[in-house]
């Protein structure tokens, strides 16, 4: 990449980061509106089963829910400007500290899931494209249909029953190293493998019909070279898009998978916050996940630029 290209990318990144600020403010506003308009009052969950009106009022005052919407929202923006997400209504713990502790676990899980999904998905996609009509293509096709159709919770529970309860190979829950991450990562990877395989297969097939491939064949290039350096490289754009989206969604917390396998990540944390109506936790998770998603999309755009020279990241001048 040229020095000019490097500068352009730096400007691009800077711009995307600047755009992130108003985006996050808009997201906080919309989320805040939604949370406040939903039925249910967190105070009733906080006060237990035998609350006096006095206790209810005192807690309302404490968490600020007795104030009007705009003043509550302004208070929250003030908190964010001070660099924190506030404290959980229930545990009184600093939400930012908890998110900082849980985000690395979610990242680990997302990386592990992608480490399984990308090679398996691409391999399956290539088999489906290059061996069309064969027995192995049909097997791969069945697997991918199953993978996209089966709900994650079912796959997770089945994986737990087989690998933990019956075969006793892997622990059913917990957060930690390889043995703990294997099952949730596999569960998360199944739909991603299927989607990747189907997209990769379609994309490769489309590329194979293009004129430059015929030219490459006419030039006498070996089928392997054509497949790897011409067809697959050309077919990568939609694949990278899928990888970016899947990875972004995993980083935003795989709620069901993390809950089933007791993985101490941001998805489970958000889920607990939603169940308890713990607004600071929910808002903290939404903001973090939005930022992560935007960053992932930005990285995907940058990768496009490297894969396909026709896609140019421009600095917006003219």
């Amino acid at each position: 990449m040229s020095a000019c290209g490097g500068a352009t990318i730096r400007i691009y990144i800077l711009k995307r980061i600047l755009v992130l600020v108003p985006l996050l403010i808009s997201v906080t506003f919309v989320s805040f509106c939604l949370l406040k308009t939903l039925p249910g009052d967190p105070v009733y969950s906080m006060v237990g089963e035998r609350a006096t009106p006095e206790a209810i009022e005192s807690i309302r005052k404490e968490i600020g829910s007795d104030r009007d919407f705009m003043s509550q929202y302004a208070g929250y923006l003030g908190l964010l400007a001070g660099g924190n997400f506030g404290r959980s209504y229930y545990s009184n713990r600093d939400v930012l500290d908890d998110i900082a502790a849980k985000l690395p676990n979610t990242m680990k899980l997302a990386l592990a899931a992608m480490a399984i999904a990308i090679p398996c998905g691409l391999a399956a996609g290539m088999i489906m494209a290059y061996r069309r009509g064969s027995f192995i293509e049909r097997i791969a096709g069945m697997f991918t249909i199953g993978g996209v159709s089966l709900p994650v919770f079912w796959v997770g529970l089945m994986a737990m029953l087989v690998f933990s309860l019956e075969l006793r190979l892997l622990p059913p829950s917990g957060t930690g190293g390889f043995k703990f991450i294997a099952l949730p990562a596999l569960t998360l990877a199944v739909p991603a493998i299927s989607t990747l395989a189907r997209v990769a297969a379609a994309s490769i097939e489309e590329s194979m019909g293009l004129q430059f491939i015929r030219t490459a064949r006419a030039k006498g290039l070996s089928p392997l070279k054509i497949a790897i350096f011409h067809v697959t490289k050309n077919a990568l754009i939609p694949v990278v898009t899928i990888i970016g989206l899947e990875f972004g969604s995993y980083l935003s917390g795989a709620v069901v998978t993390e809950t089933i396998f007791g993985w101490d990540g941001i998805g489970r944390f958000a889920m607990q916050g939603i169940i308890m109506r713990d607004y600071p936790v929910i808002m903290g998770c939404i903001i973090t996940c939005t930022a992560v998603f935007v960053v992932m999309n930005m990285l995907t755009d940058i990768i496009y630029h490297y894969i396909d020279p026709r896609i140019r990241i421009h600095d917006g001048k003219g």
């Binding site: 035998r50 206790a55 006793r168």
Partner: protein, 529 residues
């Protein structure tokens, strides 16, 4: 290529071997008991605790003046003995000497004064301050008219006195509750808001680590000798999913497991496990609440028809797999010291009579809203009830809401009917009468059927303030019979819980109230795998 394949196989083999060795039950801290919590404890500050999960953990970290024994009798805890004045107004406690906080400081009467005043202080925002609302001077203190609570007195380092404004029979039992535990002032001040997540108490265990949503780890408090715990520690693993927890138990990664409905038949019929199941007849009542405050359910005839229309016994046996005892009234049998006149209320299933009442009173086709929380078991029960009431000529619409919306709706009296349960906080019949049926508690304080009967109010108050146990029982009995006759609830059952332990767990006792287990009975036998 074959070499690459061979290397890959070797790598996979090694990974497999690693996973096999690492997921065995031995991969745990020795002499620590592994238990399950369904959800993350909300807080570990006793003044703020309202949930069962937090109470279960806090019981191991803190102590109060008094506790409960297996027979639900009040027994000494930090208080060595106590006296109640003949007028029932003054409670004088003599504290044990040498009872230490985890920081090594001795507990004194001043600590109790501080802890109880902290609970009452508006700044603490405790939802549990009602426990001490009868204490003399509590109101003036809360309203800022006094600097201290006059009714709480440290008479000396080991003598503590509580004066209440009116005789209040359940008061001593209320002192066994989680919010009445003693806390050290210096740790509360130093911790600030973090005291809730880094608590310090006097209990047999000390908090070693709390990883929210993952686990709470307690280690033995070596200073505690009241008596000392057998275990080196307890690990509470937070596992919301029943199947995950069941799998962990089957693998030996949990030592004790409260059996959920989904695993009940499997474990009860498992010959290997059957002998290790402990039965716990809980102090609770499951009920269908009927909103008595507005038409059409303000009419007792319709409420009686609903009670006659539902075959509770069949639902308990067939759907609930017999995991409970049929309820005759709101008060669980273990807390009832009187005999009920059962003929007063509609306790038997009588669909013919139900249909007749509905038809005679012109209720045919009446539409009623039944609210349930987002819980599959509750929804299933609601559908069964819907079927029975349809047979009686009533049209029921079920509305399922998530918990906080559900609480808000039932607190505001939105539904005609709702499915709910009530668990004892302290072992006294009053706990099942006053909050649930006294008209002063309509709404979030417990009386969600908005039931108001002046005679019942009077009888409950009479029982609360009676110093003579016979008079108290008579008042409560009469109140309960009137409640049964008025049918603000359809009384379903008192749920029985089942706890299964691993063969290597010894001395396990199960208790009726969640904070009774201080983790002192259990020990772990050395295991051979």
């Amino acid at each position: 290529m074959p070499r690459l394949t061979f290397a890959l196989f070797r790598l996979a083999g090694l990974a497999l071997l690693f996973s096999i060795t690492s997921c065995s039950p031995e991969n745990r801290t020795n002499d620590y008991l592994y238990c399950r919590l369904n959800s993350n404890p909300s807080t570990l500050d006793p003044a703020l605790i309202t949930d069962v999960q937090a109470s279960v953990v806090a019981a191991k970290l803190f102590n109060g003046l008094v506790g409960l024994d297996a027979g639900l009798n009040v027994v000494p805890d930090i208080a060595e003995r106590w006296e109640i004045s003949p007028d029932g107004l003054t409670y004088r406690f003599r504290l044990k000497r040498g009872f230490l906080f985890a920081n090594g400081r001795e507990v004194t009467a001043h600590d109790f004064k501080y802890s109880f005043e902290r609970l009452l202080a508006t700044a603490t925002k405790s939802p549990n301050n009602w426990i001490f609302e009868n204490v003399e001077g509590a109101r003036a203190f809360r309203e800022g008219r006094a600097d201290e609570v006059g009714g709480l007195k440290a008479l000396g380092p080991y003598d503590f006195e509580i004066r209440i404004a009116r005789p209040f029979s359940p008061f001593l039992k209320m002192l066994t509750m989680t919010p009445a535990y003693v806390v050290p002032r210096e740790a509360v001040i130093a911790g600030g808001p973090d005291f809730a997540s880094h608590p310090m108490g006097t209990g047999p265990y000390i908090l070693e680590e709390w990883a929210p949503n993952r686990e709470v780890v307690l280690k033995r408090n070596e200073r505690y000798s009241n008596p000392a715990a057998h275990l080196k520690g307890i690990v509470f693993r937070i596992l919301p999913e029943d199947l995950t927890a069941f799998t962990e138990f089957e693998l030996g990664n949990l030592d004790i497991f409260q059996i959920p409905a989904s695993a009940y038949s499997k474990l009860r019929n498992d010959l290997r496990r059957k002998q290790y199941i402990e039965v716990l007849p809980g102090l609770n009542t499951y009920y269908l609440g009927l909103n008595t405050s507005r038409p059409p359910l303000d009419n007792p005839a319709l409420r009686r028809a609903i009670a006659f229309a539902i075959d509770r016994k069949k639902i308990l046996e067939k759907f609930y797999e017999g995991r409970g005892r049929l309820a005759d009234g709101p008060v669980p049998d273990a807390l009832r010291s009187w005999h009920l006149d059962k003929d007063r209320g509609p306790v038997e299933f009588n669909p013919v009579l139900a249909r007749q009442i509905v038809a005679d009173n012109g209720f045919s086709g009446v539409r009623l809203k039944l609210y349930v929380a987002a819980d599959q078991e509750a929804v299933d029960i609601a559908e069964i009830i819907q079927g029975y009431l349809a047979d009686a000529g009533l049209t029921i619409t079920i509305r399922q809401l998530e918990w906080s919306s559900y609480k808000q709706a039932i607190n505001n009296g939105e539904p005609d009917m709702f499915w709910l349960n009530w668990w004892a906080d302290y072992p006294d019949a009053e706990n099942f009468l006053f909050p649930l049926f006294h008209s002063a508690n309509i709404g979030p304080a417990g009386n969600r059927t908005r039931y108001a009967n002046k005679e019942v109010d009077r009888l409950i108050e009479l029982g609360q303030h009676a110093t003579d146990p016979a008079l108290r029982n008579r008042a409560y009995c009469e109140a309960e019979e009137k409640i049964i006759a008025d049918v603000p609830w359809v009384f379903f059952w008192h749920k029985t819980d089942y706890v299964v332990r691993q063969p290597w767990v010894e001395g396990l006792k199960v208790y009726e109230i969640y904070n009774m287990d201080k983790g002192l009975d259990v020990s772990l036998r050395r295991r051979n795998y």
